[in-house]
Symmetry: C2
Subunit: 293 residues, 2 copies
């Protein structure tokens, strides 16, 4: 038991076997490079960091993720959650990230059954980052049931868009990253960024699992993404209980088809007061229509 | 020998064993959906099509790609080229795409050695679409040598940006797709789109392999992408002999690091007359600086 984990070990939270022990790996999020502009002038520019993180589950190498490195422990956990290789955070004993070797070692208490078989088939998707989804992922789709909840109000939607616009971010410093945020109604719970939007949403999924149950509500969750509303984004959101998905980008056909099937309200092209609701408009209440132009 | 392939069989091109037989699978590229805008009004919107294409190489299932479906035969070929599972188009006997079952069957003349071993390790990257790269891909990087060539002129760069802006596209109709184009200097050779930018560049790589050798020059190739300048984009471009890569987006750190190492000139944030040259500015000639604002 190392000093930074002893508290967790001594005081396990009420909701299970105890939180996993986590490293707290840090690394710089931007780098400055020299570029030349259209007049041939040299200038300095910040670009987002990008590093590889090889994920080991009980010493078995699973995948190498290219990541910004903002929250690698949450990313590792959320990746395993969203790939459904873990059913509960209580299975996890420890997540140790070491940037020196670019490795995230996830250790479970009792091992993961059929790991070899379950990681044998891959699907490559439209995801920015982390396009690889092990093949049986869609099999459980029809078992997902999203909770009934009061609709999101248009005024809350506008607060979400406004909140995102005002947040400090790696994007504002350096561009070229995707952001993902979890809201309850119009209230921000957590914002993360990564070079790929699927890393970002996986990081949120990992973060969720590490919260005490009363910190992340069962209903009223809204997921905001700067990326497109793809089928993977809809699915990963739904696995977190998200029934409303918001993007400033558009949607792909499969994203819409899956949202339709799962009962997810998808809202795209959300910028200032504009937006388009693609699916399940009954989950949105038009309480604040903007003035006509 | 079917009617549409008999010409190829009878008249093999001079550069090898003969072109592969190709199906010509077609499918609609957009779909119209009903959406609700910020005033609660229903309207029609086009979204890009997205369909799954499972790729079989000599009857072995390799991967399922989510694709717009514009040029599935070129995509299948280019994917195998960029994964370095094929060394030459002459290895390929036929590519048959059937949208009824969502399958692309690629048949080689003599089989692919060590296929099982070479597809065992995966890396998940930041790529939009097709983020999965079999693990040994970066191994051959230092064997890539890009040709010396006269620098691209700034005036040609502006012509590239202008050409892209004026092209009809699925993006203009429906948004939410990435475009990729191959140029020689400022002259467009081929433009393709897909839901993921890696599918788009793979499609170009497949198209290149199907051209007579005198149609695609060895030097002076420029690759334009609407997506970010990531390491995979740099690598896939370099494998086509591309020494200048242009994007309207920015760059990630690994994209720049790889471009630096390979000698690729990367130009980002290219919009109207603005741009930033990130790496190897000696491959660009500033012959047309715009007026100062």
């Amino acid at each position: 038991v190392t000093p930074e984990t002893s508290g967790v070990t001594v005081n396990p939270p009420a909701h299970g076997r105890g939180q996993p022990r986590l490293s707290q790996a840090h690394a710089p999020l931007t780098e400055t490079v020299e570029v030349v502009n259209e007049w041939g002038e040299r200038r300095q520019l910040a670009v987002p960091a990008e590093r590889d993180l090889t994920l080991y589950l009980d010493k078995r190498e699973l995948v190498t993720l290219m990541t910004l490195g903002q929250h690698p422990e949450w990313l590792a956990l959320g990746y395993l959650r969203n790939q459904r290789l873990l059913q509960s955070v209580n299975e996890v004993a420890a997540i140790q990230v070491d940037w020196e070797v670019g490795a995230a070692a996830v250790t479970t208490h009792q091992g993961v059954a059929d790991l070899e078989v379950r990681t044998a088939h891959r699907v490559v998707t439209t995801g920015c980052g982390q396009g690889s989804v092990f093949g049986t992922l869609m099999d459980g789709v029809d078992q997902l049931h999203l909770p009934d909840a009061p609709p999101l109000r248009q005024s809350e939607l506008y607060r979400i868009v406004q909140t995102i616009r005002e947040l400090p971010s790696v994007y504002k410093q350096a561009g070229s990253v995707h952001g993902c945020a979890l809201f309850r109604g119009g209230d921000l719970l957590r914002f993360v960024e990564d070079v790929g939007r699927h890393n970002a949403v996986d990081t949120l999924a990992g973060w969720c699992w590490l919260q005490p149950p009363d910190q992340v509500p069962d209903t009223g969750l809204v997921l905001y993404t700067t990326g497109r509303l793809t089928s993977e984004m809809v699915l990963k959101g739904a696995q977190m209980g998200v029934a409303v998905l918001v993007s400033r980008s558009g949607s792909t056909q499969m994203g819409l088809a899956l949202a339709q099937r799962l009962g997810v309200c998808t809202i795209g092209r959300a910028l200032h007061q504009r937006f388009l609701c693609f699916t399940h408009p009954q989950r949105l209440r038009w309480d604040a229509p903007p003035p006509r132009p």
